[in-house]
């Protein structure tokens, strides 16, 4: 571990140190506010350590991690996302949970650590360990409101299914390792590209690993957990699952298959194509008549990752519109929308329950104009309508798809985004339908704090800004990509 490596790892080290410092603080005096502030400070410190890490050369840190521009971009993204998630969770916990609230931040930080580890790893061991750190912290986070039964139920479901899929992942890795002889990503990929077509065990191993990827990204055959877990888990945790955890895995997926052109090996291409197509259709069809907003967002995130897989399949062959650039832009815009949406759900909740049902949003326009403007901006961005970053993201994916002539996938994507428009509009329709007097009494009146109000405004403005003038972000993504 030379001085360089130390400086390179500084962001991760700071992130790992923060929970320790917080535990010390808890030991002195258990105070919710201090814990929250400390975790935010820790995250900002890690964020500011990123430039330092960027300019020290020598990317490979021991054979486990590779801290290149790509990884650092995702670091920054994760840190910001977690900071944005912490703010509403503070208010959420104050409102909803009576017990000790400090463990929440510890688990959140370790989960971020896991996800960041994923983004930076290029070795099976670091991949598996980061994945497990992320999963273990999420088990507890999902079931955090332990007196609520559906929380425990969601936690159990998530645990069992995550354990099964990581078992599959391990078994796949062992098969690959038995053939390749090394656990480094680049050796595996070289081995696969040379003799991938006749060494079936390695391909079978990769196919089994796809289960691990698929489960975390909640794409079709492995998607069934996500609606129940999103519904059971507290709103900020569902935001975290939907954004940071999926982001980490996606970064790793792209790094793993970076040099390996998916289109060459027919089995992998067919598997990924099938997964993409089915997750698009299943995600959209299931969300069509969904009346619970959280489950609707779960299904729509399944569909959105179907779209991202299209960009992944498009790969990086085409010089102008690389698949990885399109996916990264999509992820950024997706982060903003999904975190914002779940934050609003978190705000519209009271002691007993969260504002999950569609009827809670009836006539929101006329009760809380600004909150509903933000939510409809999010919905339009998810639907991919201009003036929002969702449109540019979808356009970017379409461009990368067309540049590599994936016509069938593109047509399916078009049909699905038309389907998607329907249920996003249903939410906006719910919001601007007028509500009569006695109904108004039963509705949950949202209590929007100042801080989360500002944060929501910042998110919406970022959304529209990326929609109208995305050159800044595109530039930084193109620089960061390998």
């Amino acid at each position: 571990m030379t001085g360089h490596d130390f400086l390179k790892l500084m962001p991760i080290i700071i992130l790992a140190a923060t929970p320790l410092i917080i535990m010390l603080a808890i030991a002195i005096k258990r105070n919710h506010l201090i814990t929250a502030v400390l975790s935010v400070v820790g995250l900002f410190a890690a964020l500011f350590a990123i430039p330092g890490a960027k300019y020290t050369n020598g990317d490979q840190v021991s054979n486990l991690f590779i801290i290149d521009q790509y990884a650092l971009f995702y670091f920054a993204l994760m840190f910001l996302a977690t900071i944005v998630i912490i703010v509403p969770s503070f208010q959420y916990l104050e409102l909803r949970f009576k017990g000790n609230r400090e463990e929440y931040y510890l688990l959140l930080l370790t989960a971020t650590f896991g996800s960041v580890g994923l983004a930076a790893s290029n070795h099976f061991i670091s991949f598996f360990l980061s994945l497990e750190i992320l999963s273990v912290s999420l088990y507890a986070l999902v079931a955090y409101l332990r007196h609520q039964n559906d929380g425990i139920e969601a936690g159990l479901k998530y645990l069992i299914l995550a354990a099964v899929s990581s078992a599959f992942l391990l078994f796949g890795m062992s098969l690959v390792y038995s053939q390749v002889g090394s656990m480094q990503f680049k050796d595996v990929i070289n081995f696969l590209s040379q003799n991938g077509n006749y060494n079936f065990i390695s391909i079978a191993g990769v196919a089994l690993m796809v289960v691990g990827f698929g489960f975390k990204l909640a794409v079709v055959p492995f998607h069934m957990w996500s609606p129940d877990v999103y519904q059971g888990a507290p709103a900020p945790v569902s935001a975290f699952i939907a954004s940071v955890s999926k982001g980490g895995i996606l970064a790793l997926l792209f790094r793993f298959f970076a040099e390996f052109n998916i289109v060459q090996s027919r089995p992998l291409f067919t598997i990924f194509a099938l997964i993409a197509v089915f997750s698009m259709f299943v995600g959209n069809f299931l969300a069509l008549l969904q009346s619970n907003v959280k489950r609707l967002l779960a299904y729509s995130s399944i569909a959105h990752f179907g779209y991202i897989l299209v960009a992944f399949i498009a790969g990086n062959a085409q010089q102008q519109f690389k698949g990885v650039e399109a996916a990264t832009f999509y992820i950024v815009s997706y982060f903003i929308t999904i975190i914002g949406a779940f934050m609003i759900i978190g705000l519209i909740s009271n002691e007993e329950r969260e504002g999950m049902e569609m009827s809670d949003y009836r006539g929101l326009y006329w009760r809380h104009p600004w909150l509903s403007v933000a939510l409809s901006a999010m919905m339009f961005s998810l639907a991919g309508i201009p003036l929002t970053s969702g449109f540019i993201a979808k356009y970017y994916i379409l461009a990368s798809g067309i540049s590599t002539k994936l016509w069938t996938l593109i047509i399916i994507l078009i049909i699905n985004s038309a389907l998607g428009v329907y249920y996003y509009l249903r939410v906006t329709v719910e919001m601007f339908s007028n509500v009569d007097a006695e109904q108004k009494a039963t509705l949950i009146s949202p209590n929007v704090g100042i801080l989360s109000g500002i944060l929501l405004a910042v998110l919406t403005i970022a959304l529209v800004w990326l929609g109208v003038y995305p050159t800044g972000l595109i530039g930084s993504i193109q620089a960061a990509m390998f």
């Binding site: 017990g99 510890l106 061991i125």
Partner: protein, 177 residues
């Protein structure tokens, strides 16, 4: 020596099958321990003595003991057995097992079709494992540490029992501490 290996393998497989099919949870746990011990023997024969030891100490020793402890704490023992019988018989278990059998056959076919390199069987002493562990995979160890920390925090938070203040007449919920 190879015969010994096959015997151990056989015991391990049979034990794990027994674990899955037992109605009584304690019997299942015991079969599990036997299967772990059999795997330990296999490790030893392959030339990974350190891992064999770890398996026995940590896996069989710590984790299974934890299981037994929790089972005792929730005294699931007797009355759970009939419930198990009812659950086991009624449940249509044909389809899932058929599914995984086909999967097993396919994986087996793939493995068998692979080239069968001879086993060079070098003995890897624990020292070498340790040296490797703390030189190239040092960060791996720290990751494992953070993983365990997360596990502890999670387990601590979830397993807190609510203290029951049971009054004779007002059955109030204990203060959540």
């Amino acid at each position: 020596m190879t015969i010994l290996f096959y015997i151990a393998a056989l015991i391990a497989i049979v034990a794990s099958i027994m674990v899955v099919t037992r109605t009584n949870i304690i019997h299942a746990l015991l079969y599990m321990v036997i299967s772990l011990l059999a795997t330990a023997v296999m490790f030893f024969l392959i030339g990974a003595p350190f891992i064999a030891a770890m398996e026995i100490i940590i896996y069989a020793g710590a984790i299974m003991v934890l299981f037994v402890f929790v089972v005792m704490m929730l005294n699931l023992g007797k009355q759970a057995v009939e419930q198990e019988k009812r659950w086991l018989s009624t449940e249509g278990w044909y389809f899932p097992s058929l599914l995984s059998l086909i999967l097993l056959l396919e994986i087996g076919y793939l493995i068998v079709s692979g080239q069968t390199a001879p086993f060079n069987g070098r003995q890897i002493p624990p020292a070498e494992v340790g040296k490797e562990l703390y030189s190239t995979y040092l960060i791996g160890v720290e990751l494992a540490a953070i993983l365990l920390m997360a596990g502890i925090i999670g387990a601590y938070h979830l397993a807190r029992r609510k203290k029951y203040v049971v009054h004779r007449f007002l059955k109030t919920e204990g203060a959540e501490q």
